[in-house]
């Protein structure tokens, strides 16, 4: 089995040879690094790995074209190639667009308590733009870069879902 993946932004390529039943034996070659290990899925999405007699528990939370792999409390994002067309994540983060504008998105579902700026206002990087409330806590949504508020998509009192655009800063 051949695979390509991007692990924390670093692309790698590997080959696996699998054998065995309940506890699989796996030979893996990733670039020039080889691994011999045993693996069994002990609970749904939870794998127990033996590697050089080390007992390692690994949890995989799979998504359509990516997964978060937890090893001993460390979360490692892995995007698999050939895993189907990419689908937007549940919670898109605020991110730059091609035109250089920044979309501020709601990091969680909740209510807009206050807007702190108006369209046309100049804003500094890290300045608060909207205050959201979820789970009884108020959180300021800040702009990652300075500029001018190009749009303010929500009003005070609005209910928003995770990923909804709150404002754009150009």
């Amino acid at each position: 089995m051949h695979f390509r993946a991007t692990v924390e932004g670093v692309p790698i390529e590997g080959r696996l040879t699998r054998s065995g039943e309940r506890m699989e034996k796996i030979e893996a070659l990733i670039e020039d690094r080889s691994y011999t290990l045993e693996l069994v899925e002990v609970e749904p999405g939870v794998y127990w790995m033996l590697w050089n007699n080390r007992s390692i528990e690994i949890t995989v939370t799979s998504g359509p074209n990516g997964a978060v792999v937890s090893i001993d409390g460390r979360r490692i994002p892995v995007e698999m190639e050939g895993a189907g067309p990419p689908r937007p994540r549940n919670t898109p983060k605020s991110a730059g667009r091609h035109d250089g504008a920044v979309e501020l998105r709601a990091p969680m579902p909740g209510k807009v308590v206050r807007t702190l700026v108006s369209v046309g206002d100049a804003v500094r990087a890290d300045q608060g733009v909207v205050v959201m409330e979820a789970m009884k806590m108020q959180n300021e949504i800040r702009t990652p870069k300075g500029g001018v508020v190009a749009s303010l998509t929500v009003k005070e009192g609005a209910l928003v879902n995770a990923g909804d655009v709150l404002a754009t800063v150009e």
Binding site: V7, I30, Y35, I58, T61, I76, M80, P109, A134, K136
Partner: protein, 501 residues
Amino acid sequence: MFKKILISNRGEIAVRVIRACREMRIATAAVYSEADRGALHARMADEAFPIGPAPAIQSYLLIERIMDAAARAGADAIHPGYGFLAENAALAEACEAGGVTFIGPSPASMRLMGLKVESRRAVARSGAPIVPGSTDPITDDRAAKSLADSIGYPIMLKASAGGGGKGMRLVAAAKELESALSATRAEAAAAFGDDAIYIEKFIEQPRHIEIQVLADRHGAAITLGERECTIQRRHQKVIEECPSPIVDADLRRRMSEAALQVARAASYTNAGTVEFLVDRNRQFYFLEMNTRLQVEHPITEMVTGVDIVQQQIRIAAGEPLSLKQDDVSLRGAAIECRVYAEDPDNNFFPSPGRITQLRRPSGPWVRDDSGVYEGWTVPVDYDPLISKLAVWGATRHDALDRMRRALGEYRVEGIRTNLDFFREVLEHPHFRQGDFDTGFIDRWLAGRPEPAEPARDERDLAAIVAAIAEAARKPAPAGSAGASQPESAWKRIGRLRALKS
């Protein structure tokens, strides 16, 4: 004893009360909002009553809905838990009017302790120490100056009508007083229509330490030692300990005596908590009294062996305290971590949603007071506390090591939690030494280094398991990898490498 108790709350604290009732063979009635259909507390109770839509203001905070459910259940008592209506004297009054016992103090005690100025005055009269300053509004600048001089700088100016951190100003030295007075007065007048202000000494790098009180309806009152609640993030407690690393037997005795003075000043009955600020010289000052069961009561239970919720119920039923002060002893040390549905990697934003996997720690001296289960969707409408993880150890050191072990066994998938954050805090040398103040976490977070990159073999193992999981999820035809995919990072870098070689 009561036949049936209605619990006017949700989540872990409702579960806690249900467990106490079951142990006492008292029937339980839960209430639930539309967001809490199938919630753990509703599942566990003997009866469950819907009380309205998801927003608390339309359900858990509606006194008439609670009283109506109690009447339908035929409950003879109501336990309010903490939060929601727990410190609302109107619920206690509605209970009195409805012939149902409210498991808590009298409405008068609740009202007195709920008022900032009046409670401060009552406590001052009782002889318990309050933060030095004025107990009446100050209008005269000369009086303000002489008071500030007598208590010593730094001081805080506080608008009488203010609250929640608004209308407050720190004054570091005498020379700043005059301009600060006029600025605060002006702000207060503008914001609250009232320019009356108070002066209080500013306690630098304080610790937040509280005393648990139990008082029956026959005049007996005892204390169950202190809890150290200094570890806070944005003024929210996250880790509590019992005992406090800085409280010795003498200080405990003096703080307990002060707490009893406060309780007596409020004619207090049932379980209550007197909160103190403690300064660097271990001087303590009354902060406020919480007239209800405290979130962090489990650590006191573990160290004293006293079931505080059962005591609440017995006191409310009119039983005299079965414990005398001499029966109370502290054994070992207990620590609690408040497990929140929040994302420490994303500014601690709330992280509601469905819990896809839940594995809870267990074994010796580990207690998990959870309000959720695998498959439950943590609603966006209520506070993010999903569990309180508490451990006990013969010493503070043992308890810390046990907590570290228990945190390592805890696994929550589907939502983010602060479990890993606690693992970091627990290893911090200042925390282990017990050397901290209320600003500890916020200062540490401000200067916290980025977590180390995972090692190369960890990354490789992650990729291997992800590949296996992907193959199990969707058996792909051999050799199909990436055939018609958008250009991948792998390809891009491959090309870059080719260019370089």
